[in-house]
């Protein structure tokens, strides 16, 4: 771990100013559940660490005319119990899947959404893309936990966020502050993520001096049901082998609109329009859910060691749909 400056701003503007320094070679400290792993492994070597925990505007959940404004500092266990979030079943299920009470109590939503990949090549010092002398190590190396979709570019890792699939399925908006103080931009959370072409690009659109401050989640309608389904090897703290989140709007028992988003299968959260198309106009049952699962992975391009993840992703989609519809029975979790 390199020596670094420590700063503890009180406002978003202060944070933006502090993060802009050192050419943007700065890091955000929120819950710290992963930052210290990255620092200790020298995966990142920031000149300054900006501790944002004291920025009150980024804490808590507020109802607004546009929906729920959820601060990036909202902790995972707050998501589990917050009454305003109760209608968003898929969020609570994602939080429940984390299973570590330490991470649930310290980890923040913003930290999760900006989580850097768990790719073991990255964590072993081969850079974000896991390259050595320009060669991708995961392309032919130990890629059993790597991407099966969206993996034709240089990025082979999987997006590590546990909440992005559910939030994207809900149509959440990311609110970003900076790089100038007072400057704020918004975008669908789906477009917050990038599959980097270079190690310097990062996994989000955030530029030096920018920070994710909130997500805005639209009001749920009565007809929408949601669910997250994580496939976790361990009951304890573990990363999903694949996950899926769905939001389904039904009318008269028929799906009118469907949003299906997969996690841990691609370098970004993976919005499956194919799965949505397979569901719309159908009544939800085992067969429809299976067809949506099949559609979600129809274009998968597994690497040498991870074809099994295609099957797991298929199952995650199927079971998320069945869970949302209250039809999931007998699965092992």
């Amino acid at each position: 771990m390199n020596s670094f400056e420590y700063a503890s701003p009180r406002t978003e503007d202060e944070a933006v100013g502090l993060l802009s320094a050192h050419g943007g070679n700065t890091a955000v400290l929120a819950g710290g559940t992963d930052l210290f792993n990255l620092l200790r492994a020298d995966c990142i070597t920031p000149r300054r660490v900006v501790d944002i925990k004291n920025i009150r505007s980024m804490q808590g959940v507020t109802a607004t005319g546009r929906g729920l404004l959820v601060g990036a500092l909202t902790t995972l266990d707050e998501i589990l119990v917050h009454p305003l979030l109760a209608p968003y079943q898929s969020l609570a299920q994602a939080a429940d899947g984390i299973r570590s009470i330490q991470v649930q109590s310290m980890g923040t939503l913003g930290g999760d959404l900006c989580h850097l990949p768990n790719c073991w090549y990255y964590r072993s010092g081969y850079g974000l893309l896991g390259q050595r002398n320009g060669e991708s190590l995961p392309a032919e190396g130990r890629n059993e936990f790597h991407a099966v979709l969206g993996n034709r570019g240089p990025a082979k890792f999987v997006s590590a966020s546990r909440f992005a699939p559910a939030l994207i399925a809900w149509g959440a908006i990311a609110r970003v502050a900076g790089p100038e103080p007072g400057q704020v931009s918004e975008m669908p959370l789906e477009y917050f993520y990038v599959s980097p072409k270079s190690a310097e690009q990062g996994v989000t659109v955030l530029q030096p001096g920018q920070i994710l401050t909130h997500v805005l989640i639209p009001e749920p309608s009565q007809e929408v049901v949601s669910a997250t389904y994580d496939v976790l090897q361990l009951e304890g703290l573990d990363w999903p082998l694949a996950s899926a989140a769905v939001c389904l709007e039904t009318s008269g028992g028929v799906v009118r609109e469907a949003r299906v988003v997969l996690g841990h299968v691609a370098p970004t959260p993976w919005v499956s329009l194919d799965a949505s198309a397979a569901l719309v106009g159908k009544e939800i049952d085992e067969r429809a859910a299976q067809a949506a699962g099949d559609a979600a992975v129809a274009r998968a391009t597994p690497l040498s060691e991870n074809e099994y993840k295609v099957q797991i992703a298929r199952t995650a989609v199927k079971r998320a749909i069945l869970r949302a519809a209250g039809q999931l029975e007998g699965a092992l979790s």
């Binding site: 299973r99 964590r123 032919e140 082998l241 092992l332």
Partner: protein, 714 residues
């Protein structure tokens, strides 16, 4: 006078032996009062950190530590390698630096310059073909008897299969390491060790001092599992740096290094042909197996396969593979877990081919088990079957249910030696009635302190609080290393002998004082000395007859006097589910019925079994070393990617101690290792029962399960 014989008390008379007694050091450990090696922090202690090789194979061209030596806080530098030395696996130790603060040592290590000549590496230990192509194989012998060829020709059913077990690391909760402090010419070492009495000399020799100048202390240990018998090069380096700096140094391996150099259990992969007659009795075994124990190229001992069966016609051949990976060390019951998983999986598949139930098949073949334990196994099978409701739940392989989640049962059995190891101890009975004991053994978390205290307290008729056990110092009478499950018999046999010897001397004095005709009619019970049911005097009054000096008695072992024995066995059965759409395996219930002779403390005995089952579930379902074919690195050497089960992953665990009087009468036998042997085969068999498909290689990750269900055999 009747003959005085060493013996355990009649079973019915015990007040402590065989009861559920919590560990004496449980509260100290749970509350943090117990000081482990990593907690030792005497004034001025320096902190040492390690630079290890990031390369799997090569030769060192340059090591430059000049800049590192000038870094703030640096007080000592140790080189494990010199220019021209080979690097044989990633993680080999190169340099250690001791500094005033751990961060300073880390910063200084970044200034060390090492240049390598890169050489080709090989880490694909499961692939015998590639290993042969890379010239990394070596024949390690054959073990045969009978006429396998003829038996195969006449057999009713023949099965051919492939099975395997991946390499795992020891993963001790407390990593290897020491705190070394010189006091003049004397060296004090706090060492995380399974070998308190045996390691002082290992420090002395390379340091050029006498073993008499070294004191090794280990009050508590956070797991060793067979990997902590040595001073180790990093231990000696710690002592050398302490000398160089003139200050105490603490050097504990970091987690990644612990996994890479602290010890591994060898892998084993086997091609088997096994055959039975029409009655279901195995008539032939023919196998060839391979695997790696690291760069040295050993593996799973061919002489113990098949396990623990001795079929009339058998042949087993072994090939070792030299890999650029860290060396093996003994891992809890070496190498029985691999032998069991390589044998009893093939047997189970043969049973299925015979259309026999696993239970009936194993029972039929008990006659071929080693050590004449067939009757005990049969009794244990019956108890286990009842506990897991085998009869009601059993179904043929592949009939585990209609939905995607399939349920299945599996079983396996095991054996182990567990005879008493060497121990000397000194006990002192003080004139005030207090009792203490000294021995250079160690409590590696198994409850050694507790069972010694039980032995002495039962012998003297005292409460547990009336005896004090002092262990964990090389200055105490020497006692053997804790490996092979030999400690409990060794230390408790020696203490019972010493205790009885002391008691007889006290009885003689009591008889003389109180005019009792025969000292042998006396017993010590409930803090009193009794003749029949009549109280003669209190224990304290009896001890006051010693005069001013304590009575000191030496105890020794092992001896063939009936206090201890060897050979234990057990039967394990598991009920689990397999999600065929995700490859997840979840344990519902795991039953172990275990014999181990006379049980001193049933609570710690069951605790040993439960811990072993959890370890067994770990290596069966999630735990493995993953070597990277691109870089040669141990790519999952961390606690996130080296997947260990949490409490929610292990299901309901049931430990049943098999203890009819015939077991009590055998005396004490070690238990620490054996229950970890059978889980691999039992779980594999249950998955095959649930799905009808044999997943060949442990651990059963979702990848391996789904690949097998798809017909891809990795």
């Amino acid at each position: 006078m009747a003959e005085r014989k060493f013996a355990w008390p009649a079973r019915a008379e015990n007040t402590l032996i065989g009861k559920d007694i919590p560990r004496l050091d449980g509260v100290a450990k749970a509350s943090g009062q117990a000081k482990y090696t990593a907690d030792i922090n005497t004034a001025g202690t320096l902190f040492a950190k390690l630079l290890t090789s990031t390369l799997a194979a090569g030769k060192i061209k340059k090591i430059d530590v000049d800049a590192a030596k000038k870094m703030p806080g640096v007080k000592a530098v140790h080189l494990f390698k010199k220019v021209g030395d080979d690097v044989r696996w990633e993680g080999e130790l190169i340099v250690a630096i001791a500094a005033e603060r751990a961060e300073q040592a880390d910063d200084a290590l970044k200034q060390v310059q090492v240049e390598y000549e890169v050489q080709p590496f090989f880490v694909d230990e499961a692939n015998i073909v590639r290993a042969a192509q890379a010239d990394r194989t070596k024949g390690l012998g054959k073990n045969a008897k009978g006429d396998v060829e003829a038996a195969l020709k006449t057999a009713a059913v023949v099965h051919r299969g492939y099975y395997g077990v991946a390499t795992i690391s020891h993963m001790c909760l407390e990593p290897h390491g020491s705190h070394c402090e010189w006091k003049g010419d004397d060296l004090d070492v706090h060492l995380s060790t399974q070998n308190v009495s045996g390691t002082a000399g290992q420090f002395a020799e390379p340091l050029g001092i006498d073993a008499a100048n070294v004191t090794v202390t280990s009050d508590y240990e956070g797991g060793g599992f067979g990997s902590k018998f040595q001073a180790d090069e990093w231990g000696v380096a710690c002592a050398k740096m302490a000398k160089e700096a003139g200050k105490p140094v603490r050097l504990m391996l970091d987690r990644a290094t612990e996994l890479k150099v602290g010890g591994t259990r060898p892998s084993g992969y086997v091609d088997v042909t096994i055959a039975a007659n029409a009655d279901g009795e195995v008539v032939a075994w023919d196998s060839i197996h391979w695997g790696t124990a690291g760069f040295g190229g050993g593996g799973v001992d061919v002489n113990q396969l098949p396990y623990p069966f001795d079929f009339p016609n058998r042949s087993a051949a072994q090939i070792g593979i030299s890999c650029n990976s860290g060396p093996n060390r003994a891992w809890r019951a070496p190498p029985h877990p691999q032998l069991c998983a390589m044998t009893q999986t093939a047997m189970d598949d043969l049973a299925a081919k015979l259309k026999m139930g696993s239970y009936e098949f194993f029972k039929k073949n008990l006659k071929h088990t080693l050590q004449n334990k067939a009757d005990v196994y049969a009794a244990e099978m019956e108890i286990a079957a009842k506990a897991i409701d085998w009869k009601a739940k059993w179904h043929p392989h592949g009939e585990g249910g209609k939905g995607p989640v399939k349920r299945g049962l599996g079983m396996a059995l095991h054996r182990w030696g567990g005879g008493a190891g060497p121990c000397t101890c000194t006990i002192k009975v003080h004139p005030d009635g207090s009792v203490e004991s000294f021995l250079g053994s160690q409590d590696i978390g198994t409850g050694t302190r507790t069972v010694i205290a039980i032995t002495l307290a039962e012998t003297f008729g005292l409460p547990l609080a009336g005896v004090k056990v002092n262990l964990g110092s090389s200055k105490y009478p020497p006692s053997g290393a804790s490996g092979g499950s030999i400690t409990v018999g060794g230390v408790c046999g020696a203490h019972r002998r010493a205790g009885q010897t002391a008691l007889w001397q006290i009885f003689d004095k009591v008889a003389e004082k109180y005019k009792i005709e025969s000292a042998d009619s006396l017993v010590a019970k409930g803090g009193d000395i009794l003749k029949g049911k009549e109280k003669v005097c209190t224990w304290k009054q009896a001890c006051s007859l010693l005069g001013q000096m304590p009575l000191e008695v030496k105890g020794e072992g092992p001896k063939k006097d009936g206090l201890t024995a060897d050979q234990v066995g057990g039967v394990q059965m598991v009920d689990l589910s397999v999600d065929t759409e995700t490859g997840l395996v979840r344990i519902h219930k795991f039953v172990c019925v275990q014999d181990c002779g006379l049980i001193l403390d049933e609570l710690t005995a069951r605790s040993q079994v439960l811990g072993a089952l959890i370890m067994g579930i770990a290596y069966s379902l999630s735990e493995e070393r993953i070597m990277d074919n691109k870089t040669g690195r141990y790519i999952n050497a961390d606690l996130q990617n080296y997947k260990l089960p949490r409490i929610g992953d292990v299901g309901e665990l049931v430990a049943i101690m098999y203890q009819p009087d015939s077991e009590y009468d055998r005396g004490v036998v070690g238990l620490g290792e054996p229950p970890v042997i059978a889980p691999g085969a039992a779980i594999s068999n249950a998955v095959a029962n649930a799905t009808g498909v044999r997943v060949p290689v442990l651990p059963f990750t979702p990848k391996r399960v789904l690949d097998a269900l798809k017909g891809v055999h990795a």
